[in-house]
């Protein structure tokens, strides 16, 4: 079982960067002839940040990391590892983490690697980065970000309204925070959130670049994201409440002790249903869905940076964080976080 408690590491800082460019739900709905009110009522999304074509997730993460390193007054040469969690890397190879090592001025003695995870990616990344510190490294940078808008069809109503782009940087170092992690996987759900073409299983051909009409009139190509929304909802209602219960049990935490449950920001309808299912009132389930949409793997960090920044800069918060989705994959943690460096969210042109 992937259940573990760490005691020798801590989060030192979290920073996030979003593209400056905004697109509203009303604009997209108008283009698709959809009902804006209904979509906003369901998803809770009013607008999202969209990266321009030349901007990658690594650019957003590099901006966040550069600012965080300065705020922490860390010597880049004191950083022993960089973990980059993304599903939109710069290239198939090399690992984008290697490029980020040079870009951020990290030493060549630094271990750097990419992790391909989506909705559960931030908590997965925290688990990996914390493990590295617990294993003896001094300082680790965890960069988590996606430009999901690059991999969805704007003619596919099941996904066209949902995703926003973002990048985050989280700094971890030796400390004595107690953090409990629970992780899980069910590859039986792989078909429900998938990009079929473009890698080894189905190499890209000119024919596969063409968009075609699929279920429900949605138009996309095999190199763009397919999402089965009803399966996502059923999976989430099935797996996330037990994940939360396991976290409470293994950390010895009572619901009322938790300051905030920061969940993957899939959409507001799903967040509201999960809050109800896990027995936490909505005021302790922060949401950045309205202005950022579903920011994929970085959504937990974006929500902490956007909504908990002032509190967590000044005091310790008991946070539960949970990510769940593509895979199926899920991961949660409960621990004390703060005071940490948490600079304001930056917008990148």
């Amino acid at each position: 079982m992937a259940i573990v408690q760490f005691t020798k590491s801590r989060i030192a800082g979290i920073a996030c960067t979003l593209p400056r460019q905004v697109v509203s739900t009303a604009e997209v709905a108008a283009a698709l002839g959809a009902d804006t009110r209904r979509i906003k009522a369901m998803t809770g999304i009013a607008q999202r940040r969209i990266a321009p074509p030349e901007m990658c997730a690594s650019d957003l993460c590099a901006d966040a990391a550069s600012r965080l390193i300065v705020d922490l007054d860390w010597d880049p040469h004191s950083i022993d590892a960089l973990v980059f969690v993304t599903q939109t890397p710069d290239y198939i190879l090399p690992a984008t983490a290697c490029i980020l090592q040079q870009r951020l001025g990290l030493p060549t003695t630094c271990a750097c690697f990419d992790v391909n995870m989506g909705c559960s990616g931030y908590v997965y990344g925290l688990w990996i980065a914390s493990s590295l510190v617990e294993s003896g490294l001094n300082r680790v940078l965890l960069l988590v970000g996606d430009t999901s808008t690059r991999i969805v069809s704007d003619q596919d109503r099941s996904v066209a309204f949902l995703f926003g782009d973002s990048g985050s940087a989280t700094a971890l170092e030796r400390g004595n925070a107690i953090t409990t992690f629970v992780l899980g996987t069910d590859g039986g759900g792989a078909e429900n959130l998938i990009i079929r073409a473009g890698q080894a299983r189905q190499r890209m051909t000119p024919e596969l670049c063409a968009r075609v009409e699929m279920e429900g009139g949605n138009i996309r190509s095999p190199q763009e994201l397919y999402m089965n929304g009803s399966e996502v909802m059923a999976f989430t209602l099935r797996e996330v409440p037990p994940l939360f219960e396991q976290l409470l049990e293994h950390s010895g935490t009572q619901r009322e002790q938790i300051d905030a449950v920061v969940m993957h920001q899939a959409n507001q309808f799903l967040l509201d249903n999960l809050a109800r299912k896990i027995g936490i009132e909505p005021s302790r389930v922060p949401s950045t869905v309205e202005n950022c949409g579903n920011t994929s793997c970085a959504s937990v960090a974006v929500t902490i940076s956007s909504l908990l920044r002032e509190q967590i800069s000044q005091k310790t918060l008991k946070l539960a964080m949970m990510g769940f989705g593509v895979g199926w994959s899920w991961a949660g943690c409960i621990g004390d976080v703060g005071p940490i460096k948490a600079p304001p969210v930056n917008s990148l042109d």
């Binding site: 369901m42 429900g216 929304g229 009803s230 399966e231 059923a234 249903n273």
Partner: protein, 75 residues
């Protein structure tokens, strides 16, 4: 046991329809059934009836009556 009337009332509320609009013999495409309402129905069944609806079985439902059968025999 969830009654047909209860289901009709809950569907009317979910779909923002006037009361007593749904009689039970409607085809789902007559009540603006789409991918969004499918997701809403799964959440509603979970919340109101404590039933985990199978998305695959739900995809096969053609009528309001089929929905009642589904939530009455979810396994």
């Amino acid at each position: 046991m969830i009654t047909q009337n209860q289901l009709h009332h809950d569907l009317e509320e979910m779909l923002e329809l006037d009361a007593d609009t749904i009689k039970g013999n409607e085809n789902l495409d007559e009540i603006a059934w789409d991918s969004m309402t499918v997701v809403m129905f799964i959440a509603m069944a979970d919340q109101k009836y404590s039933v985990a609806v199978s998305p695959a079985k739900l995809a096969d439902a053609k009528t309001v009556s089929d929905l009642h059968t589904l939530i009455s025999n979810p396994a």
